[in-house]
């Protein structure tokens, strides 16, 4: 359902992503691995339209969404949980979830209560401003905000960054719950454990290029990965 073909992203002279191609079927989950500066974030942000693509094409559900702005792409059912969360700090949790409904043209949005059922911690803080939430709660809100749009593909960028192990595991648990509804995932990670928990296949990136593809569990043993990580 998602077909990324020779995607390239460039800032000035710096090539962040070079000719990245991969496909993803309905209900599948793929992890994009690599250290900082490997180009993972640039890749996914250009896929969802936040970054300008300097080359390649992205087809989703049969429609070519290359070059469309993020606001349009999210309506096609691709939702991003960005690395820096990009929350509205002056919005309450409730407001934030309501705000995301704008992305559901034609689809019925997921009700806030369902999100709260998924993340009970958010329910407790529903009246407080996003800016005052803890790191973990902010991450849950970011995921919740993405889920409201009833996406068919959810992109998670650095889910684990700066979060305590406990929170990460609970978040992963909730994510696994919703996977069953046939939701596809793209998981951008440094941490193989988390990648393994959420995805079957993985793409390892290094300096903007895909250097290894295969099942995550194989990746964990592999030398290539060590190199990719330890360069």
């Amino acid at each position: 359902m998602l077909k990324v073909d020779e995607l390239s992203v460039q800032y000035g002279q710096v090539v962040a992503v070079r000719k990245l191609s991969f496909e993803l079927g309905t209900g599948e989950a793929v992890a994009i691995l690599g250290t900082n500066g490997a180009g993972k974030t640039s890749a996914v942000e250009s896929i969802v339209g936040l970054l300008h693509k300097s080359g390649g094409s992205v087809i989703y559900g049969g429609t070519d969404i290359t070059g469309q702005p993020a606001s349009t792409i999210v309506r096609h059912g691709i939702a991003l949980v960005p690395q820096l969360r990009e929350l509205f700090f002056d919005f309450t949790v409730d407001e934030t979830l309501l705000a995301a409904r704008a992305a559901c043209r034609g689809r019925t949005p997921v009700e806030s209560d369902e999100i709260y059922a998924l993340f009970p911690r958010l329910a407790e803080r529903r009246r407080s401003q996003a800016g005052n939430l803890s790191g973990g709660e902010q991450q849950m809100l970011a995921i919740g905000r993405a889920l409201v749009t009833r996406p068919s593909l959810l992109v998670l960028d650095e889910l684990s960054a700066g979060l305590a192990q406990g929170i990460v595991t609970s978040v992963i648990a909730s994510l696994k719950k919703i996977r069953v509804s046939g939701l596809s995932l793209v998981v951008v990670e440094q941490n193989l454990e988390i990648a393994a928990a959420l995805a079957e296949r993985c793409i390892v990136m290094s300096v903007g290029e895909a250097v290894w593809r295969g099942p995550v569990h194989e990746a964990i043993g592999s030398e290539t990965i060590r190199d990719a990580f330890f360069h």
Partner: protein, 292 residues
């Protein structure tokens, strides 16, 4: 005492207009981070619109109050879409100067069409609503403008803060990447914000026309107070700006009454400076920004 009350009544009428003028100014700044120096000109257009509908076309007042703001709003959206959007890629300075010159251009355009020193339209309601002790007259005009303009400003606040229509602008103001991820398109939201701000400007113009008279200088007469009110209330706070507008009018009036008209403008500017020093974020702060 009686005198103070009388002064406050007068200040209320003007303050309400300031508040409405400033709220449009703030909406535009909040959502698009543009300081719109042409806002006064939009208000002026609203006032001339009122004159055109009431005196030229002889249409009833409610038309002026509904049609004119929409037209001005559309114009504002057009300006954003055609002129400012391309400029934004350049830099903040160009946009700022562009709005300044746009304002002057609109004033000149009007001046070419109407060569009279001053136009006027009758008040919606004339006569005295109530005579208070000590020969103080609460005219219907004062009541209508005081109540009406503030009501509109408050309504605007609610639209912006509560309704879906406003939520996009508010989200865009808060985090434009996040807003896009929620399906809000940047150009559309910006144009919408300018439309909304323009509608408020038009309304302010229609309200201001009867008591203030109509001439191009109305633009300059209202942009400065709008700016000052915005500083007092907090550049991004709609509630704040309403209070700010009224406070400003009160201070001006008292200063003019008990010192001199020179003190009137001086007082308002000193007020600005004090606020910048003591409370640069304005009366109300919106959103505690923290980066985790």
């Amino acid at each position: 005492m009686v005198e103070i009350l009388d002064l406050l009544l007068g200040a209320l009428k003007i303050g309400a207009i300031y508040a409405l003028a400033a709220s449009g100014f703030v909406v535009i700044h909040k959502a698009t981070k543009t300081v719109n120096f042409a806002h006064g000109a939009f208000i002026m257009l609203g006032a001339y619109g009122a004159w055109a509908t009431l005196t030229l076309l002889k249409w009833p007042y409610w038309v002026a109050y509904t049609a004119v703001p929409i037209v001005v709003g559309a114009l504002a959206a057009l300006v954003e879409f055609v002129i400012l959007r391309p400029l934004r890629r350049a830099d903040l300075f160009s946009v700022l100067i562009a709005t300044v010159f746009l304002g002057v251009a609109m004033m000149e355009l009007i001046r070419i069409v109407y060569e009279v020193e001053l136009l006027s339209v009758p008040s919606v309601f004339s006569g005295v609503l109530a005579e208070l002790p000590g020969e103080i007259f609460l005219t219907k005009e004062t009541a209508w403008i005081g109540a009406g303009a503030i009501a509109c400003a408050v309504a605007a606040t609610l639209v912006f803060e509560r309704l879906t229509l406003g939520r996009g602008m508010k989200a865009m103001a808060s985090n434009y990447r996040g807003a896009q991820l929620c399906g809000y398109s940047v150009p559309v939201t910006y144009a919408l914000a300018w439309f909304f701000g323009g509608v408020l400007a038009g309304l302010a113009g229609v309200f201001a026309a009867p008591p203030m008279g109509i001439n191009p200088e109305l633009a300059t007469a209202l942009i400065v107070p709008a700016f000052v009110a915005a500083v007092i209330g907090g550049f991004d706070s709609l509630k704040g700006v309403i209070v700010g507008g009224i406070i400003l009018a009160i201070i001006e009036t008292l200063a003019a009454a008990y010192i001199s008209s020179a003190a009137k403008s001086a007082a308002s500017f000193v007020l600005v400076f004090l606020f910048l020093l003591i409370r640069p974020e304005g009366l109300f702060t919106e959103g505690t920004r923290r980066h985790a």
